[in-house]
């Protein structure tokens, strides 16, 4: 039960950092989303030892373990665009998928090649 309250409390801390990030984004008109600014802030706070890892670890692990769940309501939004999956739209969907796979292949192969080269050099 104590763990449960700890998780809730820690998620509240994460939420406050998110709100801070959003506030910074809006007041400075940055193109980087507030959540990403929040992530950078939390990372810096951890590095500078201002926030201790055990203040947020349970909450962060809980959210990350169920990360896929939080996307579902957004992906259900596809329901308003089902027309996209026929005619010209279908071609667009196929292009998006092909381009996505090309990104995966290129970024994966380039980084793997460089990582392995570095690992070999270090041995």
């Amino acid at each position: 039960m104590l763990t449960f309250f700890k998780i809730i409390f820690q998620i509240v801390i994460l939420y406050i950092i998110f709100l801070l990030g959003q506030w910074i984004q809006q007041s400075l008109h940055l193109f980087i989303p507030g959540s990403v600014i929040g992530m950078i802030i939390l990372f810096l706070l951890l590095l500078l030892n201002i926030v201790k890892p055990f203040w947020i670890d349970l909450g962060a692990k809980f959210i990350i373990r169920h990360l896929a769940f939080f996307f579902i309501p957004m992906t259900v939004g596809v329901i308003d665009y089902l027309d996209l999956f026929k005619g010209d739209g279908l071609l667009l969907v196929i292009i998006v998928i092909i381009s996505t796979l090309l990104v995966m292949i290129s970024s994966g192969l380039v980084s793997q090649w460089l990582v392995q080269r570095k690992e070999i050099n270090n041995d």
Partner: protein, 229 residues
Amino acid sequence: MTNLYIGLIAIIGTIIIYILSAKLHDRFAKPFTIPMLISTICIVIILLILNIPYATYMTGGRWVNEFLGPAVVSLAYPLYMQRHTIKKLFIPILSGIIAGAVIGVLSGVLLTKWTGFSDEIIATISTKSVTTPVSMAITKSIGGIRPLAAILVMIAGISGAVLNELIFKLFHIDHYIAKGIALGSASHAIGTATSMEKSLIQGSVSSIAMVISAITVSIITPGIIAVLL
């Protein structure tokens, strides 16, 4: 009061469907049985059958959505825990992300140009690999269609989550750093969620890829669009 009930039913229903799809995935661990995809399809079918508008479902769904903000913030924790490994391999990580960002924008723009889509649609597809809020911002600045951008981002996310294992096998991508970069670059936060299910380090690399690729795409896209359109 009715709104509160509808909202609660939407949230509880989403949780139950997610738990059931996770159980299904445990039993039949195939790429197309990932809980996010199965849950989305089930909920879409239920809403269509019961004739419930998306907006009504979202009276509850938006509460789940609200967690996406703190969810991204929480990615700082694994990033911090893995900082030494990431620092050591920063150049390979950065190079992979930039290669992916350039290929993503170029292939999206060229393929839609060759197949004769309008300039608005070509501009929109260029932002599909990056996380939704950034994609919205870039789409607006280069004259794309924002609701379409949101849906293309989603398709990039889900297709990456479904097809990554097949691609990794076909192209012999087996290093966890490379897999993390590939998923974060191609499928943003949904790819990062998929990576997190494999390991904390792969997920951390993915979250870096998501962030740096969003920044890279927002810098290179206006130029590429200006040259190619």
